[in-house]
Amino acid sequence: MKKGDSKAFDILFSSYGKRLYYFAYGYLKSTEEAEGLVQEVFLRIWRNRNTLKPALSFRAYLFKIAYHHILVILRQNSFWCSYRHDIVEENIHFTEDMNERLNYQMLLDKVDAIIAQLPPRQKEILIKRKKEGIPVKEIACQLELSPKTVENHLTAALKKVKDGLGEEFVSSMFI
């Protein structure tokens, strides 16, 4: 590959791409982030192909680059503060027992699933408000709706989320 051979590059990708993807996914918990990471890492390998040292194991080299990129994402507080956590927090009162024994990943997945099933307008408004943090007034301007209408959509959306995260569901989430 040092000679700029793109076939060799494809072979490297086919032997390490999938592993890297699952490794990244395990930590980043998002297919989008994991895909982006795999692309970024291999692109960097291609760019640095002239400085590759044949003596160094490729696996270790790949890890070095991947590790660095995964950490840059994981080390940002914003990565851990996604709106899904806020929604969980607002709807579920965590007892110590729940803190220890509830499958938290399934809870987060459930939030995503509920949001995915909302009517388009409600979904759009909920995401703008909760994920992007846009004030109601501004959402109203953007969508050319009255603030009252936006508020109503938001309330309806949040109600559905709350119902979806009801006690019955939560109790099924114990590990």
Binding site: S6, D10, F13, S14, G17, K18, R19, Y21, Y22, F23, G26, Y27, K29, E35, V38, Q39, F42, L43, W46, R47, R59, F63, A66, Y67, H68, L71, V72, L74, R75, Q76, N77, S78, W80, C81, F94, M98, N99, E100, R101, L102, N103, Y104, Q105, L107, P135, I175
Partner: protein
């Protein structure tokens, strides 16, 4: 008493979070997707602490080397490979000019050699008189004043109210300066000698670019705002935290040792160098903090309802009363300046302004 007790608990909690012990079981559960909220909190604190835990680094390395032997579910990685190919193609099209460039570089290198020899000999003959390493200069900027500075390497900038900048009279291999407070730097480009700004918790490293650093001693955040180019931010112990691009801000929280990077309008953070006070959708809290610094006054927000409002405004050479009056027009807010009291040494205490919600006008907004 109750208040003190609560404060104690909160303190204890953060302490607990910071000193979170490493546990490979928890990280394994987190990775595997079957983890509790308590596990999640531990993972979060381990990954986001400004200094990475050595055991965690080791765990990740081991995990990767083992990971190569585990069987994996199926996923179609072809779209990813295709995107990489597309990007590579995109990058190699202007390849011809690259070759031309490298030809120029070779030519330039040949031309530079005699120059370099000349330079080296000057260096060699001068090297016996070493510059005293301890010669440190300091610029102090009092409250309510801005100062323009020029450093020995030609880097220029501004120092904001109540800030101190320390720098060696002669720069060595690295151009290191230490900042307490806020400063704006326009760094003279020099690939060979990176320019590093040290603050209480962060090291910001650049080659040549324009950026703003805020690290006041009495506040609990440090911020780096990049106007143009690229800067790298490290913890004081050398952990790399990330690279900022134009119009990005890194904010570090000193209390919980966490940080985040966000997109901002850098102009509003830099306008102070021109004597302008610019707010662009800034929260009430940030507005109060910046006004406090600018006018050397304590601003106290009494009603939490006010936190919901954000402001967009530009002020130049306006007295504080005028600024507050204008801000009150855009939000249901009222303000009152407290009588200044003098201490028993006949000194007046800092000015204090109290902001309250104007409940009669709430519905108008």
């Amino acid at each position: 008493m109750a208040l003190i007790h609560m404060y104690y608990i909160i303190l204890n909690r953060t302490e607990h979070l910071i000193r979170m012990k490493f546990s490979s079981e928890i990280i394994e559960r987190f990775f595997g997707g079957r983890y509790s909220r308590a596990d999640y909190m531990v993972a979060k604190s381990l990954f986001t602490d400004i200094e990475l835990n050595d055991d965690l680094v080791k765990h990740l390395e081991d995990h990767w080397s083992e990971f190569n032997t585990e069987p994996l579910p199926d996923v179609d990685t072809n779209p990813m490979l295709e995107r990489v190919h597309r990007q590579i193609l995109h990058e190699t099209i202007p390849g011809r000019s690259n070759n031309l460039l490298s030809l120029f570089q070779k030519a330039a290198a040949i031309l530079i050699i005699p120059l370099l020899l000349g330079f080296l000999s000057v260096f060699y003959f001068q090297s016996d008189k070493k510059p005293g390493e301890a010669a440190i200069a300091e610029i102090q900027c009092p409250l309510g004043v801005r100062t323009k500075f020029v450093l020995p390497d030609g880097t220029t900038g501004f120092l904001n109210s109540s800030s101190t900048l320390e720098y060696p009279v002669v720069f060595g291999n690295e151009r290191k300066v230490t900042l307490m407070g806020e400063a704006y730097f326009d760094v003279r480009h020099d690939e060979e000698r990176p320019f590093v700004v040290k603050t209480a918790h962060l090291n910001t490293k650049v080659m040549g670019t324009q950026f703003n650093v805020i690290a006041y001693e009495n506040e609990n955040t440090e911020e780096i705002i990049l106007r143009e180019g690229e800067v790298e931010v490290y913890s004081r112990k050398g952990q790399r935290l990330g690279t900022l691009e134009s119009d990005q801000k890194l904010e570090f929280d000193r209390d919980n040792r966490r940080y985040g990077i966000s997109q901002v309008e850098s102009a509003q953070y830099i306008s102070w160098t021109e004597g302008k006070l610019v707010f662009r959708n800034e929260s009430m809290e940030d507005v109060a903090r910046r006004l406090g610094r600018w006018y050397n006054v304590d601003i106290d927000i009494q009603d939490p309802e006010l936190f919901d409002y954000s402001f967009r405004a530009t002020f130049m050479d306006e007295p504080l009363e005028e600024v507050l009056k204008l801000l009150s027009l855009t939000a249901p807010m009222s303000f009152k300046e407290q009588q200044r009291v003098s201490t028993n040494q006949n000194l007046f205490k800092k000015r204090k302004v109290i902001l309250r919600i104007d409940s009669e006008r709430v519905n108008a907004f």
